[in-house]
Symmetry: C3
Subunit: 271 residues, 3 copies
């Protein structure tokens, strides 16, 4: 089956199975993450206290760990939930927000990945370059210009092989690989970087897809394509109105995506 057909099928599985997706995530974009996961057909739950987080993971079909506003309390919970997920075979999506931007984020990303094997790592080129062991010049939570010359395919393959997972780098062209198979997606719109949380939502969607599908390469590609198509569709309708409408339009579009959208609008290349 070609990748777009596989993605359309995976999206249908999300709607059919309504997986519960446990998020330990940042407080900046958490509402959008919950609404994106609902829009795509899954069910979100947010919980980050060490006294319950592993129990919540255990009743979920996927775990999303996002370092966005990490703190000493939640770092422990990320690791505890990640370990429980690994024990139970529940897929873990890791979003290393701002890796490279502070020692705490660097240390946390390393500690997490030493103790937890993710199903998918999803980040921007700076963040994933850091995980690949490259020197990075991260500027906050966006890809630094100095890192833009790194080859996303090489970086993603290094990370996929190093951590035994799917690595996904989102950007103008998205790169998703399990170290062997490689999917490139050329959808999306630059305005997606003018609204906070589009990366976080993509990681949440990756949790939704992984919670309903066992091929995590297809799952990650499906989540990323969903956000990219939502961006395109929202831009077409609201791009000229402003970022408020564009933001809301992303959620509208996610809740209305059809098989036809994936098959006809998707611009994918699998090798």
């Amino acid at each position: 089956m070609d990748i777009l057909s596989s993605i359309a099928q995976a999206a249908q599985a999300v709607r059919d199975k309504v997986p519960l997706v446990h998020h330990i995530t940042n407080y900046v974009t958490v509402n959008d993450c919950a609404n994106a996961v609902l829009a795509i057909g899954a069910s979100p739950i947010m919980s980050d206290d060490i006294g319950e987080c592993a129990d919540i993971t255990a009743i979920s079909q996927a775990l999303v760990v996002n370092m966005g506003t990490l703190n000493q309390r939640t770092i422990q919970s990320m690791i505890a939930s990640g370990k429980r997920a690994n024990e139970l075979g529940i897929p873990v999506v890791f979003d290393p927000v701002g890796a490279g931007a502070s020692q705490l984020r660097n240390d946390t990303a390393k500690a997490f990945l030493e103790q937890v094997t993710p199903a998918v790592i999803r980040g921007n080129l700076s963040e994933v370059s850091f995980l690949a062991g490259l020197e990075v010049a991260t500027k906050g939570v966006d890809t630094a210009e100095a890192d833009a010359s790194n080859d996303p395919v090489a970086v993603a393959k290094t990370v996929a092989q190093k951590y035994g997972c799917v690595a996904a780098i989102t950007g103008a062209v998205d790169v998703i690989t399990d170290g062997t198979r490689l999917v490139k997606l050329a959808n999306g719109h630059p305005m997606l970087s003018k609204v906070t949380g589009t990366g976080c939502m993509t990681s949440g969607l990756t949790g939704a897809f992984c919670g309903a599908n066992s091929d995590y390469l297809v799952a990650a590609a499906g989540a990323i394509l969903s956000m990219s198509l939502a961006g395109e569709l929202s831009f077409a309708q609201y791009g000229e109105v402003g970022t408020g409408h564009f933001h809301m339009g992303i959620l509208d579009a996610l809740s209305k995506l059809t098989e036809k959208d994936y098959l006809e609008r998707g611009n994918a290349d699998e090798t």
Copy 2:
């Protein structure tokens, strides 16, 4: 006076008195809670540190405690603020989000209700069934299918009598009771479950109504009907557009509800 007229009057009292509503609530839906409370004509304040929470409660006209993203730090604050509210005769609304889903949530709900007498408990059928002492199969923050066979009226009456308060279970038909009087509401729209926070917002609105009205049965019914009507009105306008527009339309509608909406659109049954 019939219940719809009482509700319309209670809604006017909110706008007239502009009660300050203290929330100790989750970080997922907190922005929507604040905006819903503003839209209905009250004033929100959020504060959860043990060093000030009881002081903030003391200057407020209502306290809303929502267990959504509870943690060890905020559990203490919930209880401290709840006790202060009880001492001062300030109504407390308790939303046991996810009760039944983890031991920590179960223990917290029990500890809270042992130390604090709420004016209103509002939750879904799974959550309130747990408080009634029934075995529950909560799936995250939504009502589990296995719990759907519980009789909401019996469950709500049990909880109202057990805790000496108004118990409200929201669902396709909402049930609100003080153990004797019973109000059923048959408004709302299924799409309300496709946006996160509609339950939390309803609890926030319940705080607003309780802060301006002494009949907490009417207050709870008024808050729940407000959200249901907002859902109907938003769906009529934006249902086909997607969940982003529907979400925003709920807040639009809350800010525009009129006496006529309550009287003419309300589908209430009081016994």
Copy 3:
């Protein structure tokens, strides 16, 4: 150059320099703050753990400290980041949300200002009156009626001189002063108080302007005028629809503000 031309130029500098703006802020309005900062052309980053906050400040061009949902953990971080910013000459914007409403907020505002010199303090009349040493009757996070008789110009000048910074009081007429120069702005719309976070967003925008401009009086005035114009433009388009649309329309308008908007719609008076 007249103040409106200076503001238009300052706004262009934000878009040209894309300053990174570190926020230690409340979880109620944080998403809107991030989106407002993106809309005006800057880049937001949120971080509040003591283990990294000063490092994040050090890579930023401005720091915004907002006391909205302060807690023992984040109070330490506010001070640590504030000190680092002072050491490095990075401008600090301080928003004393709810100063006067609890002892903890009063103590925190005092402790912060004893250890950190802000570039700009921005608040409502109650909050800034408290910092001026006046008795206040703050009602939650809004200006109390009892405080409305204070003279904003006198209060702002007192605070500016006391703390050696720009003091800005937003209200029907906004007052911005460095103790000597004084700017008054008569834009905005009352509906801005019906959406949570318009004050917080204004402080975030002040961070964006300060991160790209060295004249902090102009920066503060530019941020405040931006929010006021956004409110006017959104009200003109969505005022009758409700607060949901109005909220979104503010972000639309911020992302579309032009030099012409500042020059032709701005109602400023500089003395």
